[in-house]
Symmetry: D2
Subunit: 158 residues, 4 copies
């Protein structure tokens, strides 16, 4: 589907914006999870996957909605090491990992000037959106997970 080096879709960046801060003058903690999810979406996009093929859309008009695979988040966590301020440039490294039984997770490492400032992790479970029962990962996600593991020494997908 794509011949880009995984580096291209696993190393992103963003700038801390004013609305990300709170009255302590630093990044409000839950914004980190927004950055994680948006970085994941950007990663899929650079890899070549369209949002509409992965994420639920308005489904009022869809008769085939029954067969959609949903990817709800079942667990997430974050560690905050240093404060981030408005205007800070942040590098985001993604480390996706396929898990058993239709699960996968992504670890996100946040760096500012090469210093680790935070890390987050989001774990998804594939489900049938109609029955909400666990199911296998969509093929597109499996491909992205496998392509993402190429440059890493450890084989995370098997």
């Amino acid at each position: 589907m794509t011949y880009l080096n995984p580096e291209a879709w696993l190393n992103l960046n963003r700038v801390v914006r004013f609305g990300d801060t709170d009255a302590a003058g630093v990044m409000h903690f839950l914004q980190l999870f927004r950055w994680c999810h948006e970085a994941w979406e950007e990663s899929l996009e650079i890899y070549g996957l369209e949002a509409s093929s992965i994420f639920p859309q308005t489904n009022f008009q869809k008769d085939d909605a029954k067969d959609l695979i949903g990817l709800p988040i079942v667990h997430c966590h974050a560690d905050f090491l240093r404060p981030l301020h408005n205007g800070d440039y942040v590098d985001i490294e993604l480390r996706p990992e396929k898990l058993e039984r239709g699960r996968f997770q992504i670890e996100f490492n946040f760096k500012k000037n090469n210093t680790k400032v935070a890390k987050g992790l989001i774990r998804h479970q594939a489900i049938n959106s109609h029955t909400r029962k666990c199911c296998l990962l969509p093929d597109e996600i499996t491909l992205w997970l496998e392509a993402s593991s190429v440059t890493r020494g450890i084989t995370t997908c098997n």
Copy 2:
């Protein structure tokens, strides 16, 4: 449906929370619109309407989704008069008004210690969620609008 005085569902309150603030130490402007929409939801709830009868839900499982009426926001505005800080108690007064052609709007007045600190307005348009064409307001919303105008001198619904 209910015999409460409109005062009960048109006069609400909330507390400014830490996550509502930004690095200027005061309420971040767009939170006001979140308060407006949540106050409207709370108002409908106190009046006696269930969220599931008004707002779109997961519709993967619904075969009757075609006939849902959506109420997207077509316009909103806000004026900010005084800063709000974390912990401030805010009174919210709702002034709903029925408009022509499946539209209605709600004006929200925010007061702190009886001093007006901000106001907002949200205007909705009823549409058929399937075709996205304009349609008449749902009966429940019309009832709420009419009940809400009872105590006010001016007749806003006709």
Copy 3:
């Protein structure tokens, strides 16, 4: 400071609002952390502590800002067990715990109709806001932590 039973400030509730949902039709995952933090703020308020004594405020005008104790979040996590929809009533149980070296954490259990739907945890570190070095917890927080452990069989504060 207060003679309320801890039950009063450790058992809260809220309603899932439309803005908490995403295109999958259910609560967007990071809103849970907003609920956690807001539940904590509400708990302190019911216990009798003012937000201004705990949380940073606009400090342009404060000359004594140097001595403020900040309580940044150093870790958080959440598990999502069942989907939550707009309009759902959610019970929130707080389980605060004092940790060593100026740290404390709060576990939040979310239930809908007595069924556990999610849990979250937020861990704070007391720091001197001027130097950003670790320090002891503010007295008010220690009192709240101790009062909160009264009804529980286990002694979490020592």
Copy 4:
């Protein structure tokens, strides 16, 4: 300060992310204001202004905080013309305008595939952050406003 064509900092773009949507399957209305503010911050950045020179920062450590100029939002509005879905590419055109008495506003036009989908407007008032009294705009903002009006037929700054 910079010799870029204003086109460079007044024509931006972004992608609608999953967390921007709500259970109606489309962009939740208040996200538009987040995009507006972030587009403005990005515009200042491309023009050559650092966030730290414009926006309040953690000021626990600043003794010179008294002289900061704040730029609180005094008014904003938005019109929503067409629904936006997750994954949509959106072009954002900024039209800044200097107003009298330390005020300025920015109109934001949002287009998808060259079709206007929404517009927003944010109006700021310069104030002395210490006294909160109105004051003149910071020089940096005035320069950005003047540079931004160069390519437009109408002179918006005088």
